[in-house]
């Protein structure tokens, strides 16, 4: 009898965890199932089909109820995907390069304004992007970067740099000075030392920052919504959002397929690079 009580006791944590986690898992399974079925009732597909994925062949998504009219088409899916990829990759690259350069200087040099720089970046972190949207809109207009992906990229990199610098600084601080010293003594310049000696030692940190910046750029919605007007500059977030906008008339199977298509990189990173994601979530500036 005592044995049974033990078993019941041991299973309580599992039961609670299953109860609270199941909704999340079911919701993602539902999206996956729906993308391959004509209609889905809860988790039960009505008729398995791959026709929802036709947009990958034709290249465009026809808004429901518009027949085959060209005006009723969303922008070409490959252009939109390319934009999203370009945005995410550029944001990630610039963020990693700029933040690792700046953090190196902060970790290794003692210059005038160093503390000012650190304090400023820290204070800036308490200015969330919502408070700056209007002013950024103004700046982009003045610079002629409104409605360009470059504008969105620069804004996004700038807003995420302060945090990136702090994270990279943490990585550099953990590297002993002796390693660089020997490189400098052997005649390397500062830039060479940074590239050849230091960078290989912070690979893990760079990978985390890069993956996280990539996913954050990949998912970006608000900046696209606010700073992009032309459909040829759309990203997948805009495409999905405008499909939700027509919720009542939407082709649900197709919406599920597009959503799942949009989630693919996330799924890949989730399955294969989880340790980096866990490390970086703590640093996420994310909404919540």
């Amino acid at each position: 009898m005592a044995r049974v009580t033990e078993y019941i006791k041991a299973s309580i944590p599992y039961l609670i965890l299953i109860a609270i986690t199941t909704p999340i898992v079911l919701m993602y399974i539902m999206l996956f199932v729906a993308s391959f079925s004509r209609t889905v009732y809860g988790l039960v597909p009505d008729q398995i089909t791959i026709s929802n994925w036709n947009f990958l062949l034709t290249g465009y998504i026809q808004a429901p109820g518009t027949g085959q009219v060209e005006a009723g088409r969303y922008p070409n899916i490959y252009i939109v995907t390319f934009n999203t990829f370009l945005l995410a990759l550029t944001v990630a690259t610039l963020e990693v390069v700029f933040s690792s350069l700046a953090a190196y200087a902060i970790s290794r040099y003692n210059f005038k304004g160093r503390n000012l720089f650190l304090t400023t970046t820290l204070i800036l972190h308490s200015f969330p992007s919502i408070t700056l949207l209007i002013a950024v809109f103004y700046v982009l207009n003045i610079l002629g970067l409104f409605d360009t992906l470059i504008g969105v990229i620069l804004v996004k990199v700038a807003l995420e740099l302060p945090l990136g610098i702090w994270i990279m600084k943490g990585f550099y601080d953990g590297i002993p000075w002796d390693m660089e010293m020997s490189a400098l003594v052997d005649g390397c310049t500062r830039l060479q030392t940074w590239w050849k000696v230091i960078m290989p030692n912070v690979k893990g940190g760079i990978a985390s920052t890069m993956i996280f910046a990539f996913l954050s750029g990949w998912a970006e919605y608000i900046f696209i919504l606010t700073f992009i007007v032309s459909q040829q500059n759309w990203t997948l977030s805009m495409l999905v959002a405008s499909m939700i906008g027509e919720w009542r008339f939407v082709d649900y199977g197709q919406l599920a397929a597009v959503s799942f298509f949009y989630m693919l990189p996330v799924v890949i990173f989730f399955l294969f690079f989880q340790k980096y994601l866990l490390r970086m979530t703590i640093a996420s500036k994310g909404p919540i």
């Binding site: 006791k9 944590p13 609670i16 965890l17 609270i20 986690t21 999340i24 919701m27 993602y28 539902m30 999206l31 729906a34 889905v40 009732y41 809860g42 988790l43 933040s99 350069l101 700046a102 970790s107 040099y109 003692n110 720089f117 400023t120 970046t121 800036l124 308490s126 200015f127 969330p128 408070t131 700056l132 209007i134 002013a135 809109f137 103004y138 990199v157 700038a158 740099l161 302060p162 000075w177 310049t189 500062r190 998912a219 919605y221 919504l225 997948l236 977030s237 999905v240 959002a241 939700i244 919720w247 649900y252 959503s259 996330v266 994601l277 866990l278 979530t281 994310g286 909404p287 919540i288």
Partner: protein, 317 residues
């Protein structure tokens, strides 16, 4: 140090920090200053600087929606924080550290999914889950389990229980945000719990403490600081979060689920009439900034961020 070394130091310093400095100055510091300035103007889509002094702030005091929205915001922040960002995060991290390690990690991984899912897709999933029977997941599950008379709707304004005057729509808003929010605290608490020396927990067990007592008297006191940190940090994050609400309910129905950050966004960029009120939108944003700054100063004192800024440990001259 040889003199030559000192001479080449400065240009390299510029190479290292100028890209970051230029970007941050243009797209971060300048907007911070501009936001403050714009909040004293009646700027609209023509982007002209017609100064109106404190006009926007007076208007805010008279704005009959602002009060409701401030109440919404406070409720939203506290409810989500208590139930999910701290509450659920604690539950998950305590439970997953008490079971088989790999299994625990799998549960935590599942909770990470909502955070890394693009917000638009995340909302598609939620809309779908809440769709009517037989399509929506939740209603389908209810029916399958035999609760055929109950049904969930996204914009249900009825209270969730006769004794709890919270409309269903608010419950969904909190769940949508909370499922993302829980993972931050979860990761921090898990790390903190794993760092507790086993001796303490074993000692409590030897003394005859039950699992609940161990949690209450050993684990919770030992992760007091992480809890405080997550509470402080996430209050700010929640205060300024609006993207999910924008996509999920758009503040509706009416202004029922509108929060302060979303109101600022709506005033400045919404598509309906009366939009492009950049001046008023900026003033609303400034309120958030002021709250954020006060809170940051407080955290700075509490968590001694100054320690993070110790001199660089290698002096190079």
């Amino acid at each position: 140090m040889p003199l030559g070394f000192k001479r080449i130091k400065i240009p390299y310093l510029y190479i290292f920090i100028s890209p970051a400095v230029i970007l941050i100055a243009t797209f971060f510091i300048m907007p911070v200053i501009l936001t403050l300035l714009i909040s004293f103007t009646g700027m609209d889509y023509k982007l002209q600087w017609n100064w109106i002094g404190l006009g926007n702030y007076y208007r805010m005091l008279r704005d009959r929606w602002a009060q409701l929205i401030m109440r919404n915001t406070i409720f939203y922040v506290i409810a989500t924080l208590v139930c999910f960002n701290v509450g659920m995060a604690l539950v998950i991290s305590i439970l997953t550290t008490h079971i088989h390690d790999k299994t625990g990690a799998a549960f935590r991984a599942a909770w990470l999914l909502p955070r890394i899912t693009p917000s638009t897709v995340y909302i598609v999933i939620w809309n779908w889950a809440l769709a009517p029977y037989p399509y929506g997941l939740f209603n389908w599950v209810l029916h399958t389990l035999g609760f055929s008379e109950v049904s969930f709707q996204k914009f249900n304004l009825k209270p969730i229980h006769p004794f709890i005057p919270l409309p269903w729509v608010w419950l969904w808003v909190i769940l949508v945000n909370g499922f993302i929010g829980a993972s931050f605290g979860m990761i921090i608490f898990t790390a903190a719990i794993k760092a507790i020396p086993m001796d303490y927990i074993n000692a409590a067990k030897v003394d005859g403490a039950s699992t609940l007592q161990t949690i209450r008297y050993v684990i919770l006191p030992m992760i007091k600081w992480p809890i405080l940190f997550v509470t402080a940090y996430q209050t700010l994050s929640l205060l300024t979060s609006y993207e999910q609400i924008l996509l999920f309910t758009d503040g509706g129905p009416g202004y029922m689920t509108e929060v302060w950050a979303l109101y600022s966004f709506h005033k400045a960029f919404a598509e309906y009439a009366g939009a492009f009120e950049f001046g008023y939108g900026a003033a609303l944003a400034v309120v958030l900034v002021v709250i954020g700054l006060i809170a940051s100063v407080a955290y700075y004192k509490v968590f001694r961020f100054r320690e993070l800024m110790l001199e660089s440990k290698i002096e190079v001259t």
